[in-house]
């Protein structure tokens, strides 16, 4: 792998990791919201 390719790999890994982190955060919030909605409906 050339240094240029290595740089592209790092850049893509970084952006993919950031997207996954953001989606995980959104998923946690969504599960929290669903739980609250379900509890409210149950009561």
């Amino acid at each position: 792998m050339t240094p240029q390719e290595e740089q592209i790999v790092r850049k893509r890994q970084k952006s993919r990791a950031l997207i996954v982190a953001l989606m995980l955060g959104a998923f946690v919030l969504l599960i929290y919201g669903i739980s609250i909605a379900k509890i409210a409906a149950g009561s």
Binding site: I8, R12, I34, A37
Partner: protein, 306 residues
């Protein structure tokens, strides 16, 4: 199936960019899926908690994305042979097939399970059914075998309003079935209008689309003929007393214009280098038609509730 040299079958050295994963989900197709699903959910009686409603629509969107990804995984070789699709992540060599398959399968399971936990398992089963229908029945079975592929395969795109309704209510009723029928019958004229001007692409890829197999004249006739039951389905919700006059009048006007454009395409014979304008106009209007029809359905529902 012809193998294209640039479709990577083994993992690439370079990991795919996240934008390529997004492109796998066919975001442009997703807009109509999300909108019709949302309308189906919002016209359902009883209403749904906004968070659960948002989750249901998210699941419909994710399932559509998963279907798109699995479709591109399976058709990467064919996509490489068509101008319209050659720049997609797989045929362009920006992603390996295995990544697309893992992404599609993972997204499918995620969307179905989330739908089941957030709303009800009937909606989740229907969602799973819509993914399997699109990937197995349409993409793998019908599309490479019969010119009627889009007629039966159209059902895959017709599921969203039905699933939206089921997510909100947990059961099926006549109105969402009619909404399903409208999209189901709308798909052939919509898709064949496109197929008329990308026919050389389909012929090169060996896909038996109607214009390739039966010729242009038959396709034009079929476009108009399928528009007639579609028109009946579009008017039916009003005729059956399931919607108000706002929907009835607007649907009649919009559908009359659709029929006019379909008739123009149906009776004409294309000459070389004429730009296929009537076909492109019908294709463009058919998308607007579905957006407007479902939008008016929603507006009518809210007016009736006042």
């Amino acid at each position: 199936m012809i193998m294209a040299s640039n479709v990577a079958t083994t993992p690439n050295i370079l990991p795919a960019d996240w934008r390529d994963f997004l492109a796998l989900t066919k975001p442009s197709v997703m807009r109509l899926v999300v909108f019709t699903g949302l309308c189906g959910m919002l016209v359902a009686p009883g209403g749904i908690n906004p968070v659960l409603g948002f989750t249901a629509i998210l699941c419909i969107a994710l399932a559509a994305g998963a279907s798109g990804a699995l479709n591109q995984w399976y058709e990467a070789d064919i996509d490489a042979l068509m101008k319209r699709t050659e720049k997609r992540p797989l045929p362009a060599g920006r992603m390996d097939r295995q990544s697309a398959l893992h992404f599609g399968v993972g997204l499918s399971f995620f969307s179905v399970l989330l739908m089941g936990f957030a709303t009800n398992w009937f909606a989740a089963v229907m969602l799973a059914g819509s993914i399997l229908f699109y990937v197995i029945i349409y993409t793998m079975w019908l599309k490479p075998r019969t010119p009627q592929n889009i007629v039966i395969g159209g059902a895959a795109g017709a599921f969203p309003p039905l699933i939206g309704w089921i997510a909100a209510t947990g059961h099926v009723a006549p109105l969402p079935v009619l909404l399903f029928l409208i999209i189901f019958l709308w798909t052939p004229p919509h898709f064949w209008a496109l197929a008329l001007w990308v026919r050389p692409d389909y012929a090169a890829a060996g896909i038996p689309m109607l214009p390739v197999v039966a010729g242009e004249r038959t396709t034009r006739r079929q476009i108009f003929l399928y528009s007639i039951p579609m028109a009946a389905a579009a008017i039916a919700p009003w005729a059956m007393g399931l919607t108000g006059n706002l929907y009835g009048v607007t649907a009649a006007v919009l559908t009359a214009w659709f029929l006019y454009l379909a008739a123009k395409v149906g009776i004409r014979t294309a000459v070389e280098d004429d730009g296929m304008k009537p076909e492109k106009r019908l294709f463009a209007f058919s998308i607007l038609y579905l957006f407007l029809l479902f939008g008016i359905l929603l507006a009518d529902h809210w007016m009736m509730a006042l």
